[in-house]
Symmetry: C3
Subunit: 426 residues, 3 copies
Amino acid sequence: MSSEISIEALLTRRKKGHSLEAPFYTSEEIFKLDMEIIFGRHWLHVGVEPDVAEPGDVMVVDIGKTSVIVMRDDDMELRAYHNVCRHRGARIILQEKTSVGNLVCSYHQWTYGQDGELLFAEHMGSDFDRKCRNLKKVHIRSVGGLIFICLAEEAPEDIDRMAAAIEPYILPHDLKNCKVAKTVDLIEKGNWKLTMENNRECYHCVSNHPELTIPLFEYGFGFAPDGTNPKRMEHAAKYDALVQSCHTSWEAAGFPSREVERLTDTTGFRAERLPLDGAGEAHTKDTRSASKKLLGSITERKLGALSFWTQPNSWNHFMSDHIVTFSVFPLGPDRNLLRTRWLVHKDAVEGVDYDLNRLTEVWEATNQQDADLVEISHNGALSPAYEPGPYSPYTEPLVEKFTEWYVGRMAEHLLGKQAPVGVAAE
Amino acid sequence: MSSEISIEALLTRRKKGHSLEAPFYTSEEIFKLDMEIIFGRHWLHVGVEPDVAEPGDVMVVDIGKTSVIVMRDDDMELRAYHNVCRHRGARIILQEKTSVGNLVCSYHQWTYGQDGELLFAEHMGSDFDRKCRNLKKVHIRSVGGLIFICLAEEAPEDIDRMAAAIEPYILPHDLKNCKVAKTVDLIEKGNWKLTMENNRECYHCVSNHPELTIPLFEYGFGFAPDGTNPKRMEHAAKYDALVQSCHTSWEAAGFPSREVERLTDTTGFRAERLPLDGAGEAHTKDTRSASKKLLGSITERKLGALSFWTQPNSWNHFMSDHIVTFSVFPLGPDRNLLRTRWLVHKDAVEGVDYDLNRLTEVWEATNQQDADLVEISHNGALSPAYEPGPYSPYTEPLVEKFTEWYVGRMAEHLLGKQAPVGVAAE
Amino acid sequence: MSSEISIEALLTRRKKGHSLEAPFYTSEEIFKLDMEIIFGRHWLHVGVEPDVAEPGDVMVVDIGKTSVIVMRDDDMELRAYHNVCRHRGARIILQEKTSVGNLVCSYHQWTYGQDGELLFAEHMGSDFDRKCRNLKKVHIRSVGGLIFICLAEEAPEDIDRMAAAIEPYILPHDLKNCKVAKTVDLIEKGNWKLTMENNRECYHCVSNHPELTIPLFEYGFGFAPDGTNPKRMEHAAKYDALVQSCHTSWEAAGFPSREVERLTDTTGFRAERLPLDGAGEAHTKDTRSASKKLLGSITERKLGALSFWTQPNSWNHFMSDHIVTFSVFPLGPDRNLLRTRWLVHKDAVEGVDYDLNRLTEVWEATNQQDADLVEISHNGALSPAYEPGPYSPYTEPLVEKFTEWYVGRMAEHLLGKQAPVGVAAE
Ligand code: FES
Ligand code: FES
Ligand code: FES
Ligand SMILES: [Fe+3]
Ligand SMILES: [Fe+3]
Ligand SMILES: [Fe+3]
């Protein structure tokens, strides 16, 4: 049975251009390694600065069994700590979001400052050394207002490269001066990698996303015509011309737009600003802006959508009027949580400047459609009859990039730095 | 702890005439072997031809994590395929029953013909070889209208012997011209073997099945008096005489009736037609037919009930007016699904020829009573205090046959062909 | 990962004065050992004699997967048997409480006498030896009306010492002539040891138990001032004087009161009678008796509360008018059942002599508060960031005694008799 094959062997024999072998999606053991290696040692997309807008604002983020306090201190700095009391281990912050002065454990009132220092612990006597009982820190970093954390002792340094490359794209959207209009949590009944693979292609869009394909062209997410259909070739060429012309005019107007693709970096990412169909303004059912107040100093509504993807767990869409961010949190080999946030200008007023339903309806529908696809994929992978199938080189090259990144990251930690992984498909 | 004893050792030391050691009922590991060996390499009873009566009719059957498409093609042939897309593994058919032309995967629309061939896969380029991406086949076989499938590469060949022996018994009931009047799924909270053991004896009937024992004599399912009770000896002798006389007259009328018992064959089975109490017509509360329309060309209502059992997972009752079939599908070491179907003549009209409640009430009540017994047996087997107890040689010989079959099948695959298994009880 | 460290190593390196390493709270494997060693070989507090007051009364107690029949026979003796039929292992008694003549298995009616002997088994033939199919016995023992059972072949003998030491404290409360006014089962979402640790200190009382701290002084459960707060020193000295004077007068009146502490014995226990605040009568919101009828021949309402703790799984409070008992039953590494019973004089009439809500409200609120603390502790222990923290030597010495007992008991069984366990904290 394949469950008896070691992960080392599975990594080594991974067939390039193909979906993974079943245990990568279904095994409890590999899930633990995913949490340890992928989610334990890489930068994770966990939220946005407006989640903790004010001094003392706290947001709790759970990465598997690791609970993290993300907070803004009174000096407006972002801080992150393990949500585990240094006395007898109780969780300190119990709500998902709250606002605090100090961090006080409810069990026996041990009290930590915003800098994580243990300020007060009653009944511990005069010999007790508070210094070695401070909260354990977690790396935290904002990239253009998107919050990333890393649970490892040493966080990957190439986040600097990502930040340098990507902030010019993001900053015009002025995320820090947005507000979260809505957050929705959706449980997807499949492995987190199936959720990511699903996100990395639009091969499935036409037949599964009636709402999303109003604004979205199916081209543009690694899509190229396979040469077998002349009509499609023509469409694709037309689309290509549109992209070129948009890029030229947007970049001239100060909005970096051309593809930057570093998906197989340790801190892998990709960005590109793409035109939208119809009025070309936003991911809405009528393709017009969802919010009247444009972001930052943007005055042009037809900015298309800047898509920014990060490995292992996010995608984000920046439009002229609103932003949608998606973070994936694994819950088990067969379940993950997709957290979606819609952001509008902080001064936009609900009911006046934007209608919440109009803002969110396209992605709420799309997310559920994708969750259903993830579930049927996961159920398929559970079958002993499942075997890896070929990704389309024309519509799924970025799925392969995700999978390649995953296999490479696992291999580096399990097999050593320069381990060759994967075999070419015959 | 017994969980540390190898299954090989447990098989070898199995005490004949006794229930199994606890791990056979409770261990996750042995459950996986059950699914691999018993349910993975034997013929399984999964339904009846009327489930897929028309061209294009599809029924999905889940054997553990293996999902199987059972369908009737446009040439009226039965077909079975693994319900796993050869692209990225999604389940193809999502409903339990439906009707289709081709088999189309909802994820990226790969399209398979009724013969399992991949007909269409967009965006795969001109190099792509569709031939090696057909649906994987599953063995399928109808025995007198009962559908059996086998998940193994090579299916046991002795199903031919079973078919030859049993079709003369079944065919007069003309199952193919029946319709499924009702299907009921019941989750039983116990190991599937406890459900089978429960079915293989009527020792428990008198005190647990007030409805069933109206038509059913407790004798006749491997029951023999133990010689300690003269009154019971007398009853049993009387019953024996009744059976003899029924067999003689039924067989003269063209209804094979005498016991055929091959329970320890690879494709193990047993059949016998037995008289019923009261009016002697059917498993109903008043022992009269449930449906006015008799099956096939049957004109005699008092045909008793032909019981046909198969290893590992079914029992079936054929009466002059209706048929009841039972398939057991394991869901985990501690849960199984019992699927019961009631069939009547396809021209019988509900409310006119039969009343659905009258048709089903005896077995609906009986199934629930048995499910309760299975649950308390399973809970008992979980206790460290449980140890195998003796089957009654007078009322449980066919339970022993089931257990012997199970142990023998497991041993053949785990210990090799002629491995002796089991030790005589001291 | 710590889950790969052997329990032997974890026991050996246990840091004294600190909470346990995470696997002791979270590992499935250690939970199984807890059930085998701690709950399988020690005396467990499972109920009170009034639970089975009358001849034939039966109570079923589940210790993990082991189901035990606790009953009173017609000679008024307490009996305990494994609730597993010796035929095919079915559970015999299905209700939590009932009353029986013989013990009859519902599956095939095997019938056992109150002495556990198999009296009747039909269809087993004349060769069948009933003698070797009696119910398996479980040790049972009443200590002052509290029922203890032990699942081991050989039960620890030092229960005699506990009984001798403790019955003088308990007997004046005449538990046998009480009735159970209410039993409440509460599922706590944490390891059973976290529930016990929570119970063994009152460091958390002031900030978590607004109801309980009306009658209860926070001192008195291993509490001593740490010398850093002069006002607290004064309070503690005052409390100490109160305890001394109460002890003197109560003992003179025939109520043993001074602390007896043998928490690290095999059958570990501790008892002390302590004064209550306010009117000093009972654990009620107004600190007055909950029941008008005092227990036994008690005439003095202000008897404070006698707390009697046993390892591994109980605490009990005896007051002049009522008794509250608590038994902890593990359900899994992350769940346990807390069963609380409130007892009053058997002649007390609800609505006349006592109000049920007044009787139970303090502990119902307190239990829920403690369950919440147990849950946040368990969630903390699940985090990879958790590490054992220091118990306060001033408020948590009895938590350390519990943990020391646990580690010692596990070590004796896993490492051998005199194994040294634990290392001093640096
Ligand atoms: S566990 Fe946090 S203060 Fe005790
Ligand atoms: S998974 Fe079936 S078409 Fe892609
Ligand atoms: S299992 Fe108890 S009588 Fe058969
Ligand atoms: Fe999608
Ligand atoms: Fe039955
Ligand atoms: Fe408490």
